[in-house]
């Protein structure tokens, strides 16, 4: 029922070399004789290398991020043995490293590769061609490792998003209620992970439907897990038969006890819809009001705003009884991502679409089918914004099945 797309774009992460680019090599070697020799060998290979030399780790440090490959002597005055390698990898995890060892400490070379160097060379046993090949291979191998690492990260993020998605967007419990629910969830631009929008629906006794939509506001990674917690808490409260008057208070207590930062709060709209009578009792906690759609009539429900959850626990949020109309109505719930985009691509002064704007859009919905309406609305909001919206969007449309 929900469309969720999360992609991680690897295109902008430039790794390795582009065609024709010269390879920048930093040689860290304290012995001037050895340094001269390595430079001569690289020159002899007639390969496209630019070589810089640093005699100490301190001298090398500012240059590490500027180069493709480090040739590292393991006997520096300010970093001996593998310590030098560890410092390089810590300061510049993306640079390829070839260590240089003497004949007597070749074992250090294997240990260096185990710790993250791409290769090792024993001084005095390699010619220009061998050295230049080792440098190129090291750069290529590092690039391949980095790509694999990024891919693994992106796979992990997608798996994480899929888990959260299941948590945020459940299968509604319709319990014999004759209605369809159509929904979409779109993560905002620039996000690898889902944000904190959530919704749910629970039917009761064939005529009542409890609806929830909400949005955890705050920073980044904490939002989605908190959204899952709030949705599940709401479901448990409703299933346990807790009186409606107490549900938002209890939800707020869950939020306050589960959040990790005082600046995290949540906006929520809850509705108990009586499908037989065409009425709804709606409470808002800082959330924009649901919109009733019935033919030409498109209007936000006139519900008194209630305070967002998590700011001042204990403030009452009384319900407003709304008449939805004769059969043929639909009820639209959404999160603020839908209305916070620009009013037009070139709107002056950052004017936003707003509730009025989305009502206008709905008046021109033409023959859009209920099942397509959430996705159509999101596309319209993006069109007005002139591109993808920065915030997440969740849209939920309640569409009672006509028995006529």
């Amino acid at each position: 029922m929900a469309e969720v797309g999360t992609t991680v774009d690897l295109r902008n992460r430039r790794l390795g070399l582009s065609a024709g680019e010269r390879i920048r090599v930093l040689l860290i070697e304290d012995d001037p004789g050895d340094a001269f020799l390595v430079q001569e060998l690289l020159a002899e290979a007639d390969a496209p290398f630019d070589v810089q030399v640093a005699q100490t780790m301190r001298e090398a440090r500012p240059l590490l991020r500027e180069v493709h490959c480090v040739l590292l002597d393991l006997g520096l005055p300010d970093a001996s043995g593998l310590d030098g390698l560890r410092q390089v990898l810590q300061d510049a995890g993306r640079v390829a490293v070839c260590v240089l060892t003497g004949l007597e400490d070749e074992h250090l070379g294997t240990a260096a590769v185990a710790e993250g160097a791409q290769d090792y060379l024993v001084k005095g046993t390699v010619d220009g061609t061998g050295l230049s090949r080792a440098v190129r291979y090291a750069v290529e191998r590092k690039r391949a490792d980095e790509q694999a690492r990024l891919l693994r990260e992106s796979e992990l993020r997608q798996a994480e998003s899929a888990r959260l998605e299941r948590g945020l967007l459940p299968k509604p419990i319709m319990a014999g209620v004759e209605a369809d629910l159509w929904s979409i969830y779109r993560p905002g631009r620039d996000r690898g992970l889902l944000g904190g929008d959530f919704f749910d629906a629970i039917g009761a006794d064939g005529t009542h439907l409890h609806l929830l939509i909400g949005d955890v506001c705050g920073h980044g990674v904490d939002e989605a897990p908190l959204g899952v917690a709030l949705r599940v808490a709401w479901r448990a409260l409703v299933l346990a038969g807790v009186p409606e008057d107490h549900i938002l208070d209890s939800l707020e207590q869950v939020l306050v006890s589960e959040r990790r930062s005082d600046e995290l709060f949540a906006t929520v709209a809850v509705a108990t819809v009586n499908l037989a009578e065409g009425t709804a009792r709606i409470r808002l906690a800082g959330h924009p009001p649901p919109i009733v759609i019935a033919g030409d009539r498109v209007e936000p429900c006139a519900v008194r705003p209630g305070l967002v959850l998590g700011v001042m626990p204990g403030v009452p949020r009384p319900a407003t009884e709304i008449r939805l109309g004769d059969p043929g109505w639909q009820l639209l719930l959404y999160t603020d991502g839908l209305i916070e985009g620009g009013a037009a691509p070139d709107a002056p002064g950052g004017e936003r679409l707003g509730i009025e704007g989305i009502v206008e859009v709905l008046r021109d919905r033409g023959g859009a089918l209920p099942r397509d309406l959430p996705a159509w609305l999101a596309a319209q909001a993006e069109g007005h914004n002139g591109g993808p919206l920065s915030d997440d969007i969740a849209v939920l449309l309640l569409d009672p099945r006509s028995t006529a």
Binding site: H219, H287, P305, G306, L307, V308, V311
Partner: protein
């Protein structure tokens, strides 16, 4: 659109002028600035939102955080917000009942420190 921040003193009050867009990307800078003001001893803080084009929920969170921080040290926190577009956000979230909103810096600095009624 960038976020602009500048402060000046007005009697007992520290006025923080905010301009541009306060959103998920720029809100951390606003938070830092407000934390810094309280840490360096400001107790009567007025945030002038007159030149803010857009304020999203992350930005609201930062303002709520600042309000709590100042209450914890017996300070005061006022917001100057005259534009309908921004007032609408405070009404939807009902945060207009939590913050002291004023329609000018003069009104805010005159009221802060007393329990005078907000004017906006």
């Amino acid at each position: 659109m960038e976020l602009s921040l500048s402060t000046y003193d007005s009697g007992d009050h520290t006025v923080l002028e905010v301009g541009g867009e306060v959103d998920v990307y720029t809100a951390p800078r606003l938070r830092e600035k407000l934390v810094e003001l309280v840490e360096t001893g400001a107790r009567h803080v007025v945030v002038d939102l007159s030149r803010v084009e857009f304020l999203d929920s992350t930005g609201l969170g930062v303002l709520v955080g600042a309000l709590k921080r100042l209450r914890a040290v017996n300070g005061t926190f006022g917001l100057v917000c005259a534009h309908e577009r921004l007032l609408k956000i405070f009404r939807i979230t009902a945060l207009d009942r939590v913050f002291s909103l004023y329609d000018s810096v003069a009104a805010a600095t005159a009221a802060v420190g007393s329990d005078a009624e907000p004017t906006a």
